[in-house]
Amino acid sequence: MSQVTATLEPSLIRTLSGIVGERAVITDPERLLVYESDGLTQYRYPPSAVVLPASVGELQRVIRTLHEADRPFVARGAGTGLSGGALAVDGAVVVTTTRMNRILEVDVENRRARAEPGAINAHLTTAAAPFGLYYAPDPSSQSACTLGGNVAENSGGPHCLKYGVTTRYVTGLTVVLPDGELLRLGGMGQETPGLDLVGLFVGSEGCFGVVAEIEVQLLPRPEGVRTLLALFDSLEEAATAVSRIIETGLLPAALEIMDQATIQAVEDSVFAAGIPRDAAAALVVEFDGIEVTLDAEMAAAREICQDSGAREVRTAAQAEEREALWKGRKKAFGAMGRIAPDLMVQDATVPRSRLPQVLARIGEIGRRYDLLVANVFHAGDGNLHPNLLFDRNDPDELRRVEEASREIMEVCIEAGGTITGEHGVGLDKRKYLPLVLSHSVLEAMGQVKAAFDPDGRCNPGKVLPDEYLISTKDPR
């Protein structure tokens, strides 16, 4: 794994320019600097080139050309990934989908939609809204991230507690394999005959090929929505409320927690939602569905919050209030730039019943390493996002961040959790994978990867540790 940028041969540049146009091939190393990182800024891997195809046909010909030239490549959407998944390890060529950003069809009768991979998640819901439909997976980054990136990462979001993550909604994919072959997988039917390759592709972190077109299922807008905001004087109390809500059998659409540092960052931003700054934790509980059940569910949740020690429980009466709350919640990660220049976001999942203890231990780790930790997370899924805030120019702080991260990870694994909830393994979590997966599982993954990408050219250096990557070609 190296950071060198091997420059492209002039003949290869000419061929690629012939396919996508001169302006859509970028090879000037200085112009390529902006592609060295994604949403995670710890790593810098500048690519050898960026190619921007504008159609499936162009995409396919680009990948075939790279195959013939024996060049590694990596797909990139909006670059909001938080595990370094879209970075160009080994001087890979970045194939960006931003020019393939159209919503192709909203099929109202069948509640389906087709889109290009660079289409932005939120734009799909905007396109479906006039028909009373929406696209359920709602990563907090949905106003910017692409559907192709969502498919690759099998992204979740606040409302995936009730509705499930991306894989539940993807019904068909057109993919370009690393050798340039175009495959249509699934489509229209609920069940596809044969082996479920669509399911296999979703969550493959860009390691099997490039998604060229996506067909998803849309849902009708629920009849009613109710949102509650409970404020607590301790983070553990809020977590306790979450466990109890789940225990009683209620099924909220979303259960999200923000701690005090996060609340303050959000309230300082253009997305201020009116959450009191002195609250130690804010819990957002949302129910949706048919009107008649909602009030009873809300009453039950309110009581549980109060019993768990909430100092105040508010209801967002108007749609605007609810919207403001969600905007604040979803932009929280971005707002943290107000507190510190750099942040490292963790993405561990623990059993919900263990949330209070795990949060207490994370707090303790932060204090021990003298680091500010801001928590904002999908509590209902037990999906934690502790954000470690630091300044990369302070080497000692950087070291403490590294050590604290590892300890947090260990605490989560010890509690029966795992190392990623939704951001993927990418580059960042690769070293931790053997902590949670057995040798034989990793071997099996290596074999599946080799079936799609025998030359090991597709998204090199990601997910699987080197020793599990089987390449039919020369060993690395």
């Binding site: 302006r23 859509a24 970028i26 000037d28 200085e30 112009r31 600097l33 902006v34 592609y35 990182s37 994604d38 949403g39 995670l40 800024t41 960026v50 921007l52 909006a78 670059g79 909001t80 960006t96 931003t98 020019r99 950003n101 660079g118 932005i120 980054s141 106003s143 910017a144 991230c145 959000v266 300082d268 931003s269 253009v270 997305f271 932009k331 929280a332 990660f333 971005g334 707002a335 943290m336 730039g337 107000r338 220049p341 750099d342 942040l343 300044d391």
Partner: protein, 441 residues
């Protein structure tokens, strides 16, 4: 370091930017700004996105990138400066401020294009600017630009001559046809704004505004007076310096800002009213150029729509104007001044005026100061998209509160063969007052 005159020797490359590490560090690379950026959404290259440009600025500061490099020059230059990225940034990155410093670094490393130097040079020198404007008005009066600048839907990209002609023609007074004047005169409702005296205000008359859009200044004076404001004339004021600041000529901009500071400080009006959003944004940020001395003045600068219709205020009511209007918020009001809804509120106060929604009204029109002229290709594409959205709104009139936007949108409407008239919102209110006889005395 928070603004203030740079004390580093002239020519110390990257100095202006290197003092900004703090400001740059606020960007966490979340990418929320990407879809808001008109250059990124059209070109797809992250180097043409706000996050990418900030990354390049960072690379210059870190010493990894030469400010004379093609990468830095190209991508800094290609930014519209529309500041839509600021409105969506959760981390509060002060992009506009950083861009001006980055451009200062860029232009001191390499000379900008001839067109840009020429335009900025002209605006700065009254001895050249005034005759140029005088000739422009003469040409406009000749109706040649109107003929030359008219196109039809589906026509290709115009050459510089046709574009220039269309822009000049677009600055001409509109011919407003009020569809069906109902004749009912609306009395001032109780508690609403009336002509009661409120205090003294001054109007920034501007450079292009004063030369090509003097009618907007005159309408502004009348409307302000009708709403009870005494408009004092401030001698010694001049161009606000925005175009120079956006182009990275911070020392020239500072000079212009200083002159205005002195002029307005001695007049001491309660508010300094702007009817050009770009100038308003600039003046509200004078303290960033001139330091704390200018802060008090900056805080007294207000856009005319804001003064009349902001924060729940309602302007005095005139006669009905039965027409369909769509409103495009100037970026330097919506994004740079973070003022929203006031243009719409002002128009909504005119009886019988029907306000039509405009798709993607929050997006730049591609005029962006002199961008429409210096980048005819990309600026033209953005301008065409805006003109098509205006046509799709079905309105007969487009209102927007900035001379550059009026000319850019007006030009592209003409080039598409559309008859839609382009006005400043204050011109409509003025028309409604005139018709109501508010000016008769």
């Amino acid at each position: 370091m928070s603004g203030g005159p740079s004390r580093l020797p002239e020519g110390a490359l990257a100095s202006a930017l290197s003092q900004q590490t703090e400001r740059l560090s606020h960007c966490v690379h979340c990418g929320f700004c990407l879809p808001a950026c008109p250059t990124y959404t059209r070109l797809g290259d992250e180097a043409d996105s706000p996050r990418g440009r900030l990354h390049l600025m960072g690379a210059v500061v870190e010493g990894r990138l030469d400010p004379a490099s093609e990468a830095f020059q190209l991508h800094m230059d290609r930014c519209l400066g529309c500041r839509a990225c600021e409105s969506v940034c959760p981390s509060g990155v002060e992009y506009g401020f950083l861009l001006e410093r980055a451009r200062e670094v860029a232009v001191s490393a390499r000379q900008p294009s001839l067109v840009q130097r020429l335009l900025l040079g002209l605006i700065q020198r009254p001895a050249l600017f005034l005759p140029w404007m005088w000739m422009s008005r003469l040409l406009r009066w000749s109706r040649i630009p109107a003929l030359l600048g008219r196109g039809e839907a589906g026509a290709g990209r115009p050459g510089p001559l046709r574009l220039g002609a269309a822009m000049l023609a677009a600055s001409a007074p509109p011919s407003l046809r009020v569809a069906s004047f109902t004749g009912t005169r609306v009395q001032d409702r109780e508690g609403e704004a009336s002509g009661e005296p409120r205090g003294e205000v001054a109007l920034l008359t501007g450079c292009v505004q004063d030369q090509l859009f003097r009618r907007v200044n005159q309408a502004s004076r009348r409307v302000l007076a009708a709403n009870g404001w005494t408009v004092v004339e401030v001698a010694g004021q001049g161009c606000c310096g925005a175009l120079h600041a956006h182009g990275g000529r911070l020392s020239q901009a500072r000079e212009m800002a200083r002159r205005n500071l002195a002029a307005f400080q001695s007049a001491k009006p309660r508010y300094i009213v702007n009817n050009a959003a770009g100038c308003g944004a600039m003046m509200r940020e004078y303290h960033e150029l001139l330091g704390e001395d200018a802060r008090e003045l900056s805080h007294r600068v207000v856009d005319i729509s804001s003064l009349l219709a902001g924060e729940g205020r309602r302007p005095r009511v005139g006669d009905p104007l039965a027409m369909t209007v769509t409103y495009d918020a100037p970026c330097h009001l919506l994004h740079a001044q973070a003022v929203s809804g006031v243009g719409e509120a002002l128009l909504a106060s005119i009886p019988e005026l029907e306000l039509r929604p405009l798709q993607r009204a929050e997006e730049c029109c591609g005029g962006a100061g002199i961008y429409g002229i210096t980048h005819p290709e990309l600026g033209g594409e953005i301008g065409m998209d805006k003109a098509r959205a205006v046509i799709a709104s079905g309105a007969d009139v487009l209102a927007t509160g900035n001379p550059g936007c009026m000319m850019q949108i007006g030009a592209h409407l003409r080039l598409l063969g559309s008859e839609i008239q382009v006005v400043h919102p204050i011109e409509l209110l003025d028309e409604s007052y005139r018709s109501a006889g508010l000016y008769e005395s």
